[in-house]
Symmetry: C2
Amino acid sequence: MPEAAAPAATPLPARGFPPAEYQRRVTALQASMAQAGMEALLLTTPPDIYYTTGFLTRFWESPARPWFVVVPALGAPVAVIPAIGADLMARTWVRDIRTWEAPDPQDDGVSLLSEALAELVPPSGAIGVPMGLETHLRMPLGDYARVIQRLAPRRILDATATVQRVREVKSDAEIAKIRAICGIADQAFAQVPEFAAAGVPLDQVFRDFQVALLQAGADWVSYTAGGAGQGGYGDVISPAEAVPLRKGDIVMLDTGAVRDGYFCDFDRNYAVGPPSDDARRAHDALTHATEVALATLRPGMRAADLHRILCDALSAKGATPLGGRLGHGLGLTLTEWPSLTARDQTELRAGMVLTLEPGVEVAKGKILVHEENIVLRDTGPELLSPRAPAILPELAL
Amino acid sequence: MPEAAAPAATPLPARGFPPAEYQRRVTALQASMAQAGMEALLLTTPPDIYYTTGFLTRFWESPARPWFVVVPALGAPVAVIPAIGADLMARTWVRDIRTWEAPDPQDDGVSLLSEALAELVPPSGAIGVPMGLETHLRMPLGDYARVIQRLAPRRILDATATVQRVREVKSDAEIAKIRAICGIADQAFAQVPEFAAAGVPLDQVFRDFQVALLQAGADWVSYTAGGAGQGGYGDVISPAEAVPLRKGDIVMLDTGAVRDGYFCDFDRNYAVGPPSDDARRAHDALTHATEVALATLRPGMRAADLHRILCDALSAKGATPLGGRLGHGLGLTLTEWPSLTARDQTELRAGMVLTLEPGVEVAKGKILVHEENIVLRDTGPELLSPRAPAILPELAL
């Protein structure tokens, strides 16, 4: 059985990254771009922009303004951004910062972006834009069409793999940040029995859990989810209702808390009073599946292989695996590719940070799920979230 | 001078909305679609989907899966969504729910969405997709192209105005929800002097402020921002640093806290010890500009008119108005259109919820901003955020 990590004891990593980290990332992207025949990469989403520049802000919560970063074939990224972000971008390693007063109903960065791309890409060249699975373009579709039209005859290529094969392998500095937020979340999970008990409404538990995450050191809490029900819970994506916990409930709390722009994403289960035999067996099956994955996962396997390992281990314990994915990548967003499904053939490589998320159906519409965070090393998985207790912790009646 | 609202004293509105509210919204969208010649509207973003269906979840934080809602020319919306959301969607008023196991690398909802749209729109018809200012398409660009291709010869039209002219006028039930979260934030702002004082690092203040928001009743805190500096602060979108507050600092805290899916977005300023004369004058100018806007704003004015009112009032006090927008719409996201700029000609109508956000430059790179939330009534603005104190509150030295 793998040793539990003890991240709470390690000091928190320093904020941000040195310029060399960004230089390394962009060089890796540029190698990938060269292979794909792209003279520039157009990035528009918060994680892609943070990854390449270090520009970190909660201001993305406002959908009003598009933000653009162009990675050229050589050299540092060019930022084409609303003026309100100029000061913060100037604190990153990016030196070429072009701004406009957004939102502008006449021309919301279209000219500025088109000019930047036209400068960096010859008419015979190609521009990469992520447009595949698990991506989206964070700018108005109409403006995108205008930019593309102005850039003709330059070609537009799908840069999904170009970006994902680079971003998915984390550096030691990135892994340290994910480990840090995992340790913070672990401290918050340890406090749950102090505020959750029979009679306490689930929405109050969610609120107190977020408070515990902040007090343990999270910068902010982008995601909390969970559920509670007799011997298992229903879906795990609904907001919490004001329904008091009852004896016999299994409570699950899941969080994507954030420190320095990096997410954790793991959960913990609790029983309100002694759990039923069915719930205990389900929990044992989840524990078993996690242990099997921790013991057998190796680089070179595919996402689909890991999905099968988890399913087989659950079935071996007589449990019914949930449909849908049983884990995924993790890092700059709550979930990253790949997805642990039967269909995802992404190769799992050393340095990838993943969630192991086996789930079982204990009865019609009643489930238990269990999630840990790992980094895949050459020798196998290393836990980033401290291992959940093998025996379901009990909340007071 | 307008009366301050007292939302903290009013009971919180019930969760959710009755089906009649969604029916009314969709009927209004359908009238707008008919005018624009659209047989269906394709929606992909959290606010548009919550608005039309009542589907509310933090699961949007995972970028892995696209979600689709199609508003047909007549009748209730059709949900084309990942299977993981089926249970939650079934609790809304939507009855036609079509699901697939996402993420699917072979076909991530493309066939299902294309079939739904082909059913609802004749080959000679048109489909509306928001593609203008302050919008984006939350699905892979490549899949969008595939859907459009399958739907040929159906036309694709820009549905930005179709959606925005409906969504921007809030119902009384929506206004009650925004007022409720404003009242919650007001309680949290009132507690700031209890945890913020000279010597306390700004990142700790941000953390404690989020805790206060949760403890006052926010479901979650999607946005906190602010700044601190001698006599004014720099940019207002950076994460807080671990720099202790000092005598002479002006501290600003801004929040987009959420209850039941609706945002507040207002800020408060505090002085660490007695403020400088310059800071006091700047604060007076902001107060004056807000009062002028509250006294003179009327339906029928344009966003640009309100921008001018704020600028003129600041200038009249000898202050230098900030560039960029001086307020915006508010509701289902931290910021909605319109934008209070010199260029936005959106008509301001009764029922619109807006932020008034005058800002001044007190010195090179040093600013003060001030924000309140209002609903525009036939007779003028009604405050949703309790009015900020006219005199800068002081934090302990």
